[in-house]
């Protein structure tokens, strides 16, 4: 498996030591039917106050990578290699107990389906308060008071009355706020949000994303937003990393990447979004299916679906799409892409 060489994003260098540094992370799963390569060498960093969106379809490995950072994957059958440095310390070399101390107070995570992600048999106040009781040894009464405060902070109306209610008694949007409250309870430095709004209505989505942004502004925490929703990325994120088949195939600021893609996959994503002007025309999906992570195509994993691929004689030496894995390289100031022919992609899209 080829290794990528990445150059650190200049943006991070300016802000000082990064909060989180993911370095060549690989995650494999041993299954009866074979090995699934869910994450294949991703690297990125996150600074305080920054919002990084990880964009990809299902099966791109984005959720698995986030869970690997949190350390909540079951270690057999998962095999995690690489480095995950939080405030300079590599979590993968820490003891389980040390890692556990970071989860909650240091890095926390919210998930897509709040109904199944909250324990149905305990009240929301109990579950939020648990953060204080377990990590800080706070008493039950005090924990409950803090839970009410938090519920207020995430804008759940009538918090004092609802603190003893159960998750199923809340609407979808409110439940997601409960999750957010639980996650920010101990003022974490980083919040990972795994598809937080996918299961919600559009209007509720906007409210929840606004809430996340406001909280980030208040606390200065780093936010990693995992999503497949281009609209959400556009609204909320500073930087975006596009994932495909367990790799990052493009990275840059949201403005740069969205207005002018540097990778055919990103290009395809942008083109597939219906525009008002194209009304009456045909939709332009990306041809083909996402790859089976147990059998990732050779060379560039996107090549079977890529309209720009060069095979055989058409390709320059060392840049044959079905043979040579393109490294993630700098294609413009502050932008990287993993394509042999990124230069052709840039500038191709008329906005």
């Amino acid at each position: 498996m080829t290794q990528f060489q990445t150059e650190p994003s200049p943006r991070v260098a300016a802000a000082g030591a990064p909060l989180l540094e993911v370095d060549d992370l690989h995650v494999e799963f041993q299954q009866r039917s074979g090995v699934v390569h869910a994450v294949n060498g991703i690297s990125y960093s996150l600074a305080a106050g920054e919002t990084l969106a990880i964009l990809g379809e299902s099966g791109s490995g984005k959720s698995v990578s986030a869970q690997a950072i949190m350390g909540i994957l079951d270690v057999p059958p998962a095999v995690v290699t690489g480095a995950i440095r939080f405030e300079g310390r590599d979590m993968l070399t820490m003891s389980e107990e040390d890692q556990r101390q970071i989860r909650g107070p240091g890095i926390s995570m919210i998930f897509q389906d709040a109904l199944s992600s909250l324990n149905p048999v305990y009240s929301v106040g109990w579950q939020i308060g648990e953060m204080f009781r377990v990590h800080q040894g706070v008493s039950r009464k005090d924990a409950k008071a803090k839970a009410i405060e938090l519920m207020d902070r995430v804008r759940i109306p009538a918090a004092a009355k609802r603190v003893d209610d159960y998750p199923h008694q809340f609407s979808g949007g409110m439940r997601q706020r409960v999750m957010i409250a639980m996650a920010i309870a101990l003022d974490p430095r980083i919040l990972i949000a795994d598809e937080p709004t996918t299961a919600l209505d559009v209007t509720v989505q906007a409210q929840v994303m606004d809430l996340l942004k406001d909280l980030q502004r208040e606390t200065g925490m780093g936010l990693i937003l995992i999503t497949h929703d281009l609209g959400v990325v556009n609204e909320v994120a500073d930087e975006v990393a596009v994932m495909y088949a367990g790799r990052i195939v493009e990275r840059g600021t949201v403005d740069d990447v969205f207005t002018d893609a540097g990778h055919p996959y990103t290009e395809g994503l942008m083109n597939s979004v219906p525009q008002v002007e194209s009304k009456g025309g045909r939709l332009q999906p990306i041809a083909g299916q996402p790859p089976n992570l147990a059998a990732i195509p050779s060379g560039c994993p996107f090549h079977p679906r890529c309209a720009r691929r060069r095979l055989g004689a058409e390709a320059a030496p060392g840049q044959e799409c079905s043979v040579d894995v393109p490294p993630l390289r700098l294609i413009a100031p502050g932008r990287e892409a993993a394509c042999h022919y990124s230069e052709e992609v840039l500038g191709a899209r008329a906005v």
Binding site: F29, A38, S116, H168
Partner: protein
Amino acid sequence: MTDQQADLRKDEIEAGTTTGLASPSVDPLSVRQNSLWSDAWAALKRNPLFWIGSVLTVLFTVMAIVPQVFARGQDPRACDLANSRALPSAQHWFGYDVQGCDYLSTVVYGARNSLIIGIFAVVVILVLGVAVGAISGYFGGVTDGILSRIADIFYALPLILGALVLLRVGPETSIPIINSRGPGAVALALALFGWMTAMRLVRSQVIAIKSSDYVAAARAMGAGNTRILVRHILPNAVAPVLVYTTITIGVIIAAEATLTYLGVGLQRPAFSWGLQIEAGQGDVRDAPHLVLFPSIVLTLTVMAFILMGDALRDALDPRQRA
């Protein structure tokens, strides 16, 4: 969660066809989408307990059909009191019983009644359970209310208790079959107090499926109630009912032996393991083989069906995949 959903879940738990509760969100590692049955067969093939169960099932079914093959040429009715209670020997693997009849053939011939009763009872349970469950689940409302209460009432009488009372009074009534003291009576009595769980299972499946999209589509295409029920809903209710049916055959066979032992099931001179155990219990010190052999064969027969049913359940339950 509504009352209804709670009931559905309870039904599945009580029937032993699922463990209910949490289901994790979509598994990011599931790479292929196979159909339920081909996946199930692949899982079944791997399960050693399935093979043990099916071999035993075949063995005992054949034993029920052609007991002569297993009886080593002995005639269970050719009895000589001189041999009473004799212990096993090379000639007579199971020894002799109290009357002096060859025990191997006696026990072997017992398989026929047990399997007949087991299968007959289960067929009745299926017919009753599927019919009532489907109607109850599909039409809902008052129909469901009444039918479910009726099922609750029958459910309040545990299998052995209900069958015990019915078989006790049966011979004194004028109802055909029930008053016959034969395998038919036992099978019917057991079915009468065993149909409710099948009904609840089918009902919960029907309720779950009838509000699904493809049923709505079928209705939009003009399909009538019967057609929807039979072609669209019932085939999908098959899986848990199949598991339950297989296990129930084993349960019925055990219940018959128990009822016969208690005196209300089959009567002498019929061949039944229950009778044989009952006859042998007095000699348990000197001639334990009298109780032991029918017990072992009974256990193996029951185990055959339960093993198969268990294996089927594990194979069909997507949440069991390790």
